[in-house]
């Protein structure tokens, strides 16, 4: 029962303010039984007779009525607050979830140990993949074989890895676990996925460290760097950064340098377009082309300012670069733009605009060292990669990345935190209970009133 009560939650916490109304009947009750007004009468004996009789019954009735009224208001408050039980189904036994990566990479001894632990109790072993199949001892080898192709292989293709964290979140929000929950996983970062929303219930993580070599997925990304004649230096610096990215992060990256005189923007056929040109870019043309997913432009010629502005990277807070000159803004649609980097004076340095399906990044300076020292920073290739590569593809950049088990329970970076969980509403039950209490209260109240009235009439008749 305490576990059941502690697992309840309210969908609309503001409705709990209605609990203050509980004070009303309680205060009325307390006021009524306070010291009272002084009335001098001639014969206390009659009062004693009036008080002696039925006083216990009246007190009991009043206390029951008070309890009923408090109960009615409490139920009303809980209905307003949307009291609910988390999960659509209840699972009262201990549950062990295993990730497919763990299942594929662990040895037979560990699996035998897992099942020997569960035999004593009633724990169920569930695989964290679509459909949440239950892992039975007799079918372990089959499931390992069908999942990996070969149990002996320790190489796992990253493209086949499920994002188990969202699956676990979904599972825990659908099924209310009353027993303990354990998750067996490897420490490979890829299996958890990019998004890690807060888990509705606490879980015990059992992290293994298998010796395996995941096969990174080859991302084939093409890029075009188009530049004016006077910006060949800028293009060369960009090209160097792309070379570093290709060497260390994206082996499948290819790019070409073209002159804007021989370049038709409408004909571009590449994933990334880096346009280093003094000519202003027509937004309508950008919106019309579909091939590039990311477009990066720099400032035109209309530069202003000679001040040296220190600018910090939001992604790398301990380094900064100098900004000697700022260009005129290519677009002034500030409202729909997202400022990624501002100068310390608050001027826009890098802003993001969505044009059609593409992301348009406007760098309000140039990559030339005379304008900014950005390209001289060691972090520049990494910054460029983070800007150009969509978040869903970034996970593949680190095929051998591990996760610290201690950070698994942290949910402060969770973008989905605070979203309502799947729950089973108790409003029907509460409403039925409310109706029952209301009928009881009416009956008892009416009974007390009628009896008092009859007695009074009888007394008057007698008088």
């Amino acid at each position: 029962m305490p576990e059941l009560l502690s697992s309840l939650f309210v969908a609309n916490p503001a409705g709990l303010w209605a609990l203050l109304t509980l004070l009303i009947p309680v205060m009325i009750h307390l006021i009524n039984r306070s010291r009272g007004r002084l009335v001098r009468i001639g014969h206390i004996e009659l009062i004693r007779k009036a008080r002696k009789l039925q006083v216990t019954e009246i007190k009991l009735t009043q206390r029951i009525l008070l309890a009923l009224r408090v109960g009615i208001l409490l139920l009303l408050a809980l209905i307003l607050a949307g009291l609910a039980r988390p999960g659509l189904f209840t699972r009262d036994q201990a549950t062990i979830y295993v990730t497919p990566t763990w299942l594929k990479t662990t040895d037979q001894h560990a699996i035998d140990q897992l099942f020997s632990n569960t035999k004593n109790g009633t724990a169920a072993v569930v695989v964290l993949e679509a459909g949440f199949p239950q892992l039975e001892e007799s079918r372990v080898n089959t499931m390992r074989g069908t999942s990996t192709g070969s149990v002996d292989s320790v190489n796992v293709n990253l493209s086949n890895i499920n994002a188990v964290w969202p699956l676990l979140t979904e599972r825990l929000s659908l099924v209310r676990h009353e027993g303990p929950i354990s998750v067996y996983a490897t420490d490979y970062f890829q299996q958890f996925g990019v998004s890690r929303p807060a888990l509705p219930q606490a879980v015990e993580w059992v992290i293994s460290h298998p010796d395996m070599t995941p096969i990174a997925e080859q991302l084939s990304i093409s890029a075009v760097v188009a530049h004016d004649d006077d910006r060949s230096t800028d293009a060369a610096l960009i090209s160097n950064a792309l070379r570093a990215i290709k060497a260390h992060r994206l082996p499948g990256l290819v790019w070409e340098l073209v002159n804007t005189d021989q370049f038709d923007i409408a004909q571009v056929d590449a994933d990334w377009l880096i346009l280093l040109s003094a000519r202003p870019v027509d937004e309508n043309i950008l919106a019309g082309i579909n091939a590039p997913t990311v477009i990066l432009t720099d400032a035109g010629d209309g530069a202003h300012g000679g001040d040296t502005l220190p600018v910090k990277f939001p992604f790398f807070p301990f380094t900064s670069f100098r900004l000697n000159r700022l260009g005129a803004l290519v677009t002034d649609k500030q409202a729909k733009d997202q400022m990624l980097i501002r100068s310390s004076a608050g001027l826009p340095v890098l802003q993001l605009t969505m044009t059609g399906t593409a992301r348009w990044l406007q760098f309000n300076s140039r990559f030339n060292p005379d304008w900014s020292t950005l390209t001289e920073q060691a972090e520049f290739p990494e910054l460029l990669l983070q800007l150009l590569l969509p978040a869903s593809q970034q996970i593949s950049r680190f095929p051998d990345a591990r996760i610290e088990p201690g950070r698994l329970d942290r949910s402060d970076e969770d973008p989905l935190a605070g979203q309502p969980l799947t729950h089973r509403s108790l409003q029907t039950v509460l409403t039925l209970l409310l109706a029952l209490l209301w009928v009881l209260e009416r009956w008892l109240s009416e009974r007390a009133r009628t009896r008092s009235g009859q007695r009074q009439d009888h007394s008057l008749d007698a008088a």
Binding site: S34, R37, L38, R40, H43, I44, I47, K49, A50, H458
Partner: protein, 311 residues
């Protein structure tokens, strides 16, 4: 002294004959003429004979002298004294709640001061004694508490009435109704063959009031018990928690008025019934007066009831 007289009351009842069951003993002349002759019959006036008058009442000697029919009318001289016994115990200080607490009640009290039972009793006494003395009856007064007994012997005339009211004004409430042994000597001074009005709330701690009634109602004495009640006793209008305090003993009881209300009516009805039975055994008439109702109305209905009781 006239401050005890309610002029509205007098305007309505002073010409009304006060009829006692002892009319034969000559308390007041009533609606029915007495044929009794002898001591105490006093000539009043002649009037012309009207059809229906008994022939025996025609004064034949006057007819012989004047050759006209005259009927001789006579007035009875009272031989019975009227005693007013006033219960001056502390419980007579009770008054309706609207005069007790609250701003609104205080304002109401200033504009419409209401009486306690004792105030009402003094006015009632003054009014009845006025009527009696106007008709030439002897009136006397006895105010009783366990600590003090004030007696004004019977007498007639307006001067006596004024002296009685002077004593009445000095009477204060306090303590309880005296025990029978305390009033034995005083009771012996009440004359036989008299009419005694006992004005009280008839709340007693043992049976001191009934013992008193029993003692005074012996012999040819007629006793009328006038029980004073206030509106709050009749309707029990209290709400919420009330701390009731006994005016005589100071005992307090905390009561939830709503829960006690129905039982109050039972208890009050039981008390009234017991009182009625006890008085009936003693052949004492009981008249209940609501002190929050106009006094003239109460007197009118009282005198009318007595008229019905006339044998």
């Amino acid at each position: 002294m006239e401050r005890f007289i309610d002029t509205r009351t007098l305007a309505r009842v002073k010409d009304m004959p006060l009829i006692a069951r002892t009319v034969a003993d000559g308390f007041l002349h009533g609606l029915q003429q007495s044929h009794q002759r002898g001591v105490g019959i006093e000539f009043s006036q002649y009037r012309s004979y009207e059809p229906g008058d008994p022939l025996s009442r025609i004064d034949w000697k006057l007819f012989a002298r004047s050759d006209r029919y005259f009927v001789r009318e006579a007035e009875r001289e009272s031989e019975i004294s009227i005693w007013f016994v006033l219960d001056a115990s502390a419980s007579m200080s009770q008054r309706s709640i609207r005069t007790q607490t609250g701003k609104w009640h205080r304002k109401q009290q200033q504009s419409h001061p209401s009486w306690s039972k004792f105030d009402y009793a003094r006015h009632l006494l003054a009014t009845l004694s006025y009527i009696a003395q106007k008709q030439g009856d002897h009136v006397g007064m006895l105010a009783l508490t366990s600590q003090r007994q004030q007696l004004v012997p019977t007498g007639s005339g307006e001067r006596h009435w004024h002296r009685m009211l002077k004593h009445l004004a000095q009477v204060r409430t306090g303590a309880m109704f005296p025990k029978p042994e305390l009033v034995r000597t005083t009771i012996s001074r009440l004359q036989n063959k008299c009419l005694i009005f006992i004005i009280s709330d008839f709340y007693e701690h043992s049976d001191e009031l009934l013992q008193f009634v029993k003692q005074v109602s012996a012999g040819d004495t007629e006793v009328v018990a006038m029980q004073l009640q206030c509106e709050d006793e009749v309707n029990f209008p209290y709400k919420g928690a009330i701390r009731f305090e006994d005016l005589e003993t100071g005992e307090q009881l905390l009561v939830s008025a709503a829960s006690a209300r129905s039982r109050w009516f039972d208890a009050l009805a039981g008390h009234q019934q017991a009182l009625e039975q006890s008085l009936r055994k003693l052949q004492v008439g009981l008249c209940r007066v609501n002190i929050d109702q106009p006094m003239d109305k109460a007197l009118f209905s009282f005198l009318k009831n007595r008229q019905k009781l006339q044998p």
